[in-house]
């Protein structure tokens, strides 16, 4: 693997891992704190419809997926405010409608669609320069948004009703955040695929939550844990010659188990120490 071509696609894979780790670390903390993992799951699977449309129209599937999933996110956000509709049912409907549209459009697409699997399970090694620019743009915008509006985001997410009594911008923030959620999900599809995206948005945050209890701390450490999981997983997948997306997820789950075990061990030891002192 020492030739120049290997170096090039590996660089892109590493760059993509870094950008997606930052983006998922940030938006995943929002998703986990607000307990909207199911909404994130709905948007993720619905985006398959956008990919199908992309194949059918012979456009870049990632771009059509971006547009499609943002619209789905807005529909979920809009309908969830209407109390006569059950929010989880809306999400489930969008979830399966997107998947159904995706399958239908891919079936209708003339010819063979070779890289369908790469959208379902990710394909780090085929990340193009154009994909990278897209990831960079979205991650940078997300980063700026959180740097400038961190307090507002935390306060509004924590207690919507209270925030409503204080500012008229609550809905604007809700829509911006759900839009960023959709955008980050789609760029992450390149790394781990539709089926596995959810874990990139939740496992690092849950590891971080073992050690930290503050939104900002969880966010920063989630980025670090994501980096460890994606770069580590990529290296392992490269060494063992197995699919990268799946290896990244398994690496993260192993990290989670190790963190949980070590934490329980530490609690146990400190308990024993306290008993001895008494």
């Amino acid at each position: 693997m020492g030739n120049i071509f290997a170096y090039d696609f590996l660089t892109n894979a590493i760059m993509a891992s870094i950008l997606v780790s930052i983006a998922c670390g940030i938006i995943g903390t929002y998703i986990v704190s607000k307990r909207i993992v199911f909404i994130a799951g709905g948007i993720t699977h619905a985006s398959f419809g956008g990919i199908g449309i992309g194949f059918f129209m012979a456009w870049n599937p990632l771009l059509t997926a971006l547009g499609f999933s943002v619209i789905v996110a807005w529909i979920i956000q809009y309908l969830s405010k209407k109390s006569q509709i059950r929010e989880d049912s809306v999400i489930a409907t969008m979830w399966s409608l997107g998947m159904a549209l995706g399958i239908l459009f891919i079936y209708l697409t003339p010819g063979y669609t070779p890289n369908l699997m790469s959208y379902l399970f990710g394909s780090l090694l085929t990340v193009s320069n154009a994909d990278l620019w897209l990831m960079l743009g979205i991650t940078f915008a997300l980063f700026l948004f959180f740097v400038f509006f961190m307090r507002a985001i935390i306060f509004i997410t924590f207690d919507q009703d209270f925030a409503f009594t204080k500012t008229k911008h609550v809905n604007l923030f809700n829509y911006l955040l759900i839009t960023f959620t959709a955008l980050v999900i789609v760029i992450s599809i390149r790394v781990v695929g539709i089926i596995l995206v959810l874990s990139l948005l939740t496992i690092p945050q849950n590891i971080a939550n073992i050690y930290f209890t503050d939104f900002r701390q969880i966010m920063i450490s989630s980025v670090a844990i994501s980096l460890l999981g994606t770069i580590g997983g990529l290296a392992i997948s490269f060494a063992l010659n197995v699919p990268s997306g799946a290896t990244i997820i398994i690496t993260l789950v192993v990290l989670f188990i190790l963190a949980k075990l070590s934490d329980s061990l530490i609690t146990l030891i400190s308990k024993k120490k306290q008993l001895k002192l008494n």
């Binding site: 704190s33 307990r35 109390s83 006569q84 400038f148 509006f149 307090r151 507002a152 935390i154 306060f155 997410t157 924590f158 207690d159 009703d161 209270f162 925030a163 409503f164 009594t165 204080k166 500012t167 008229k168 911008h169 939550n209 930290f212 209890t213 503050d214 939104f215 701390q217 969880i218």
Partner: protein, 265 residues
């Protein structure tokens, strides 16, 4: 007479096609301390939420006043029902208190020194100074209610709205809560929904019963006759040597129906 700060006229409120409140009228004065009572589902929380602008009014008007001039809004402090808040949200007590400063303009600013001082002042007043750096997930129900009360008053509102502040808290906090509210009442009007009808009456200045309509009662004695005229079916608890429950007067014949009711509880 104190200045009027809120005037509610013929307010109709509810959800979708269901009208919960029908033509409610109420004037709130600057020095008011009103207990809002009434049966479950009678519209107490709907009334508060409509006043706060959380749900749109279906009819009628809510006017706000400052120095007897009509203004679009006044600063209102709000303590929502305990169960509506996610207690495991990763946030520290200091940040919760600080979020009370949030407004359209201050949404983007960092913590200023005056805000920090005010947060410390409020923490002292509500007795949570040692908890400021703790995550809210580590707090007890009573401690959390102190935090949420602090958040509601940190920006010195003209009106404080409390939705069942004494649920999930111990008796000690309840006593302290009324002490704090008594102090606050010199600076702001207070509107408080409560189920705890035993102790509330000795602390408030007037009572409003909401049961689709609003019945206002100046004074804080609620006799059975008043309850009857206001059509306000509520449980009244009193304190005695043994915890007990007072039932409406009844003849011997219908004693069984009461026994049946007791069994339901």
């Amino acid at each position: 007479m104190a200045d009027i700060i809120v005037k509610i006229e013929n307010l109709i409120a509810g959800y979708q096609d269901k009208i919960v409140l029908n033509k409610v009228n109420l004037d709130i004065l600057q020095d008011d301390f009103i207990a809002i009572i009434g049966p479950n589902g009678g519209g107490k929380t709907t009334f508060l939420k409509t006043m706060l602008g959380l749900i749109p009014a279906m009819g009628g008007n809510i006017h706000f006043f400052k120095d007897n001039n009509k203004v679009p809004a006044i600063p209102i402090g709000y303590l929502p029902q305990y169960h509506t808040i996610d207690k495991r949200f990763p946030l520290r007590v200091f940040d919760v208190l600080h979020s009370g400063f949030m407004n359209d303009k201050l949404l983007f600013k960092r913590v200023s020194k005056t805000e920090k001082l005010r947060v410390n002042e409020i923490a002292e007043m509500t007795g949570i100074t040692e908890l400021l750096q703790k995550p809210i997930g580590n707090l007890s129900g009573g401690q959390l209610q102190r935090v949420f009360l602090g958040r509601a008053i940190v920006n010195k509102p003209r009106l404080l709205i409390l939705d069942e502040p004494s649920t999930y808290v111990d008796n000690k906090f309840e006593g302290e809560l009324y002490e704090i509210l008594k102090d606050l009442n010199s600076q702001m009007a207070i509107l408080m929904v409560s189920h705890d009808l035993g102790t509330i009456f000795s602390h408030v200045k007037s009572i409003a019963c909401i049961n689709k309509n609003l019945y206002y009662h100046k004074g804080n004695e609620l006799t059975e006759a008043i309850v009857a005229t206001y059509n306000c079916p509520i449980d009244i608890l009193t304190h005695g040597h043994v915890p007990h429950r007072v039932l409406p007067l009844h003849s011997h014949d219908d004693i069984h129906s009461h026994e049946n009711q007791q069994h339901k509880h």
